[in-house]
Symmetry: C3
Subunit: 430 residues, 3 copies
């Protein structure tokens, strides 16, 4: 079922009504969203890029507070919990792989088949009766679109397709290239809201590479009617929303000082009403944002805010283009390498001389500076939303309606948050 | 009403009786003081020195756990909460001032008049209906005695005069110069008690600059009678106490080894009884210490232990002198610059070659080494006070009697203590 | 009473039965052990090596969360709590010793006789009535076997003998040399279990110095019958256990790949059954491991995992040999210096060029990588033990039976765990 945002046309009234409600009532519509600090179970998540794990290699990642150990065996990627079931030593603490199919715990020699997690040998006790009985919990894994996807959840996983951003799944002849995976200190919800937040365009007004893409952007937009947002809630398909069109603010003013994008020609301000976003733009469960047509028509930008723990998400950006010939593919490769990737994101600390920040670096800034208050100062309640935040309200309600299982630390027996970032030493033996 | 310390002349008996009482009873007289870990609301605090904020500039400070953003507009200093009411981004995370009167949130362009906190424009939504309705909480500010004072409290502020150290307010022809503002890891109560604690003179016995001021100090003093302490509790005037005179210990002894100040002539030990402190010496609410006549008659020393959070105070020292002519003023400037400031305080890490610590550096040491146990090991109960601590007992009772509102984190919706010192990155964009 | 392990011969069945039990029941037999996160009170602990404290010197150590201040006076070592009873300043924050017998608090000059903890003088108040009444809690101290032992407990201490590893106390003509004291981030229980854990031999298979000692080790052993473990529970003697003999795994196999010690001759594999451990090998209360005959017959290795706080133990290794003549003693000194010490332990960060890790460095690795999950992820319950862990089960039960008083933070009024490692600055005055 594709349904339109059900509430009043008077978006501003709705936001205000919601905001004016007594505190108790205010949070009610998106209560489950507020609980989802660690993300949503029973979904597929992009864990890392395919090119980050070569044949025979292993790597570990934390997603939704879970520690996962990956290995590529004859091309295919498998994953298990990064804890030996015997006494919890992480497989990743010292890599011991005697054969392609197996991983061995470095402390007591428990050896598991990475393909199904089953204990195949205890090196330290010949013919142990535990063999065949013990196993390390495996994770379903799929590899597609140059990403390795892992299913965090219980029971039979849903089809991968339901958790892949629509334009990534549906566009023919796509070529795509990894742009970044960067761990950022902000909860995944603060991050995703910032991704499609129609008011934070303001921060992009000084984007240095705008000229390259002819990107004359407003400094803010609001939705005019409920039709601006189409909620996608079809069973068996990705759940998300399309943000269709907008009322744009091209020029803001403070005591006579005009504020606008650096590219804007003040003598030629575009019309106030009109679609800013290309068809298909919008956030999707569990944690992705579909941005077709960015930074210019014909290009594709997909990004995810993968929950790592309560205070961090992995900011994952994939860029793509349609290409039917080898030459077109090569052109995209070249364009990506020469400027496209770094026009949108420059890993902190890697800027070249005089290189300006990328478009999305501002987004990262916004998330980081809001995180502290949302986490520690009760701002999920204290926030005062405005008209542009209508998309955020719709998103929160959408997630609350579709969250099957909210990930919680207590239910998983995980580490307490304050100890999350500490870990075993990388190489404790001199 | 100026009242004398009401209790027995037998000070030692009182301290001991208090100490010998059952645990439950022991803390009773100063229960409210024990609650005031974050300081007292409804008072004026010296936030920073006037010369730390120039025309048009902004700065942020934390006082009593509150994050405050200051701006100087046409000479006058204004302050608001350092959180945009929309979604909590700190104004200080990136300074955006389009006009002299305004501050703008760097994430969504909400723009406020710093003079009253009112929202004057949302750059990202022309003609937003929120304009005039939303505001960021403003703080009353006054500037006087080369300090910017901010009122942390509710309702109409009391007169500034009630919270200024008496000799600073009352002495004619004062010239004053900032000496330091240094953040120290100790609760403000541990700090202020250490400031006038008549027993810790011991630690100053090796003060290297004593010769310059002819400062022959005892290594400890105790109050002889209740008259030694005059409690100042007049309505409408600063609440505090004057410590008037003393029984001095000039020489201590351990198994025949004599311990005394380096300046003391053992053949000419001053009389045991006699006033050490100049008239006017003593602690005052909310967190200051008045030290006229230090380090020598004719000079003035004022210091404050401004609560930052539960574990830190801002140690603020102002020094002054009376000066009627330009020449006298210049002399004080020169003296301050050449030695006076550094005789009392050397910022850690800034000592010049062979430069000894300042007088008050020892005080900082004392606070820091007591802090851990008071904070974490229940020493507000476990301490065993002695005769010299009579001034401390009087102070605790005084504060408990006059604390209108104790600052608490819960009531303010603030950050949890353990996350206090983390903040947004200074400059997260590469 | 020396009693044999009371349970079934079928060790594997017992481990499995225990593991298969419902969660509630599973932890029952060693419940008190689980509570003993901070260690056991009423025991003697090796605090440091004799040569770490010279005549007249002081030092501070934390054991079981308690802060202790030591001083050597005319050859004998004394200890008191490292907190002045007045206002908690640590004596160790600035050493002030006016005489051999005394320590002085650097803040207010309270001076105590280190030999009994009694207040002998307050430098800042002549003839204080508190003298003779106040004292700082003293700790019983003994010095023996080149170690300074401190009694952490209440009342009259048990005889030191009950807490010294048996071969250290009983072997005649011993000469012994300190090898290391190194603070490691793992709870003392994770550490000691790893010390005699008969399955973790696996990790030692690549020990570089094995050739020197002719050490051909299996990669794992299990106990065959209950007779393999002798529980020592005689009153008045050390409580612990002897692990006597073993079923050895010399070669493990994963999909046809053989895994074994680097020294093993595959054409000449030793018999499967047979005693690996020399007589006397095993763990003893409160926290030691007796390892006679290591790394070769005739040498002695003693080690302790002294609880520092919940997350750290002090790994203390002492090595020895029997020597009747001066020449024999000198030989051992030379051997220890040239290779013996560093064959078993290389302090992290001190490895010489090309120097391999010592035998016990692997043990440290094992403890560190298991610690996080045991501390934070509930692995005391989630662990799945195997046959080799029979010794661990017996140890846990043994400790639970004999733990007189479990050390707890709440009962001692100590610092909260998260603030344990913070302390006063070493040298806060510039």
């Amino acid at each position: 079922m594709v349904r339109e945002a059900e509430r009043a046309d008077a978006i501003y009234d709705e936001v205000q009504e919601q905001q004016g409600a007594p505190e108790e009532r205010r949070e009610r519509p998106w209560k489950r969203y507020l609980e989802a600090e660690l993300g949503l179970r029973n979904h597929w998540y992009p864990a890392f890029f395919s090119n980050e794990l070569k044949e025979g290699e292993t790597r570990h990642e934390m997603l939704l507070g879970e520690r996962i150990y990956f290995k590529r065996v004859r091309g295919r990627v498998f994953a298990v919990e990064d804890r030996c079931p015997h006494r919890a030593a992480p497989f990743s603490s010292r890599v011991e792989c005697y054969t392609a199919n197996t991983i061995t715990c470095p402390v007591h020699g428990f050896t598991y088949d990475i393909r199904d997690g089953k204990l195949v040998s205890i090196l330290t006790e010949n013919d142990s009766a535990l063999v065949g009985k013990l196993s390390v919990p495996p994770y379903p894994v799929e590899e597609k679109f140059s990403l390795v996807w892992v299913y965090i959840g219980d029971g039979e996983p849903r089809a991968l397709r339901e958790d892949v951003l629509p334009t990534l799944w549906n566009t023919p002849d796509l070529v795509m290239l990894p742009t970044t995976r960067y761990k950022i200190r902000a909860n995944w919800r603060v991050a995703i809201e910032n991704g499609y937040d129609t008011g934070h365009l303001y921060g992009h007004r000084n984007w240095a590479s705008a000229w390259r893409y002819g990107a004359v952007l407003p400094i803010g937009t609001v939705n005019k009617t409920k039709d601006d947002i189409v909620l996608l809630e079809e069973p068996g398909a990705p759940v998300g929303m399309h943000v269709k069109s907008s009322v744009n603010t091209w020029v803001g003013e403070v005591e006579g000082v005009k504020v606008h994008m650096n590219m804007l020609d003040l003598d030629n301000v575009p019309p106030k009403e009109g679609g800013l976003y290309p068809p298909g733009f919008g956030p999707f469960l569990p944690c992705g944002l579909d941005v077709p047509g960015f930074p210019r028509p014909g290009l594709f930008h997909w990004e995810w805010y993968v929950p790592v723990d309560e205070e961090h998400h992995m900011y994952t950006i994939l860029q793509g283009a349609q290409a039917q010939t080898e030459e077109e593919r090569e052109n995209f490769h070249r364009e990506h390498e020469e400027y496209l990737a770094r026009d949108v994101w420059v890993d902190p600390g890697t800027a070249r001389a005089m290189e300006p920040p990328g478009f999305n670096n501002f987004d990262s800034f916004g998330r980081e500076v809001m995180q502290h208050a949302y986490k520690n100062e009760d701002w999920w309640r204290r926030e005062r939303l405005y008209k542009a935040d209508y998309t955020i309200i719709q998103w929160r309600n959408l997630v609350s309606r579709h969250a099957e299982v909210v990930q919680t630390r207590a239910a998983r027996g995980f580490a307490k948050p304050d100890s999350l970032t500490r870990s075993y030493p990388e190489n404790p033996i001199p």
